[in-house]
Amino acid sequence: MKVNPFVFGIIVLAVFFGVLGGAKAAGVWSVSGKLDAAGEKVQPTGASVDEIKGWMTLADVSKAYGAPVAEILAAFELPEDTPATTQLKEMESETFSVKALREWLAERPKE
């Protein structure tokens, strides 16, 4: 059966944008690790260190895992005057990485 090229184009676009629209309508859509499927800002919960990301701040992690900012800074030999609003990825150095922080928090005795 012969198909008009215009109809073909409409089918292509309908399938592609139909899937995207369907996913969005079903809530299966997130364009940032900082947002959940509902579009709400993701916050660390303290449930698992795997949830810690480089964009989270020192204060976010400190609050969720009950580890004082000063203790974290001291453990990784970071400057004491590092603001709590600093993102973890901005603190990457020879003594600090997100991975190292995850391991340290996982081994740290819970209060």
Partner: protein, 303 residues
């Protein structure tokens, strides 16, 4: 060659449309779609560069709108039950599903109708054609270069298999190492990285692709795109195909010259090639009524 091929008897020349009517074609529709997608991604990339992600406003990165991320994260997403490799979000997985759904229905048409990297390559090739038309010395130089490089044409077929190797490396690499091994090589990432003054190997690949597009249409798609390789394979199940009616065809090869993927359309009876991007430029350019048409039939077996 049959007598029917040499002396067409039943086909008529298509009437030529003039003025605005000439613009009303599936090609215009395709170009507008490609342009719209490109401008949308450009807007996302510029906004993300200017606003960033820090603070109260969260702006998405252009990376969130690329199905390649979904392809690279596919293994982890399946085995972990929904987790992705770094820099990949749910949107990437949805875009991958949408791209594969298009392939299942309409072959590689994502590449021909939507992919902005394919659009950029087509624009560079169109620019090259335009300059060659306007400047005879350039045309002669390009022609001489192509004549000299004609012997390299034997590499075309084997090089087309390269993209399947890239596909295995991209999916396998991310599965083994847990991160996107392709990210620093990706010409699309190389393009948007320029906004942040980031120069990677992907920037070099992008430059190579753009320069090559002056001489060969869609070089990235033909030889190296892993997403095109994946959709080409899935597209084998699509019910759409191109049919050349030998009795109406004059073997002028205009269709083959119009094909941005360099497929020998005028030599085939049915075109179901995994590299066909479904642009339908061959159908649009064919001067004969009924010589080359888009058909729908049973997947794989339709003739």
């Amino acid at each position: 060659m049959t007598a029917a091929l040499r002396t067409p008897t039943v086909s008529k020349v298509k009437p030529r449309r003039k003025g605005l009517a000439a613009l009303w074609s599936h090609r215009t529709m395709r170009r507008l779609t490609q342009l719209g997608v490109f401008l949308f991604i450009a807007f996302i990339a510029v906004r993300h560069t200017l606003v960033g992600e820090a603070g109260a406003t969260i702006t998405a990165s252009w990376e969130a709108y690329c199905p390649m991320g979904g392809l690279e994260s596919l293994y982890k997403f399946v085995i972990s039950g929904g987790k992705t490799v770094p820099h990949v979000h749910l949107s990437n997985m949805v875009l991958l599903v949408a791209t594969l759904a298009v392939a299942l229905v309409a072959r590689n048409s994502f590449c021909g109708w939507i992919c902005p990297l394919g659009f950029i390559q087509e624009m560079v090739s169109s620019f090259s054609t335009f300059v060659q038309k306007k400047a005879p010395p350039v045309r002669r130089a390009v022609k001489a270069l192509k004549t000299r490089g004609a012997r390299l044409a034997v590499l075309d077929r084997p090089l087309r298999f390269l993209k399947y190797g890239v596909l295995i490396w991209v999916v396998g690499g991310a599965a083994v190492y847990g991160f996107m091994v392709f990210r620093d090589v990706d010409p699309w990432a190389g393009l948007w990285g320029l906004l942040e003054l980031s120069f990677t190997f992907g920037t070099v690949v992008l430059l190579i692709v753009l320069v090559a597009s002056l001489f060969v249409e869609r070089p990235w798609c033909r030889y190296a795109c892993p997403l095109g390789a994946a959709t080409g394979l899935v597209g084998k199940l699509s019910p759409f195909y191109l049919k050349r009616e030998a009795s109406a065809c004059t073997n002028c090869a205009i269709c083959s010259r119009a094909c941005p993927m360099g497929l020998p359309v005028h030599k085939a009876e049915t075109i179901k090639h995994a590299d066909c991007v479904g642009c339908l430029d061959c159908v649009g350019e064919c001067p004969r009524e009924g010589a080359l048409e888009l058909k729908v039939g049973l997947p794989i077996v339709a003739k």
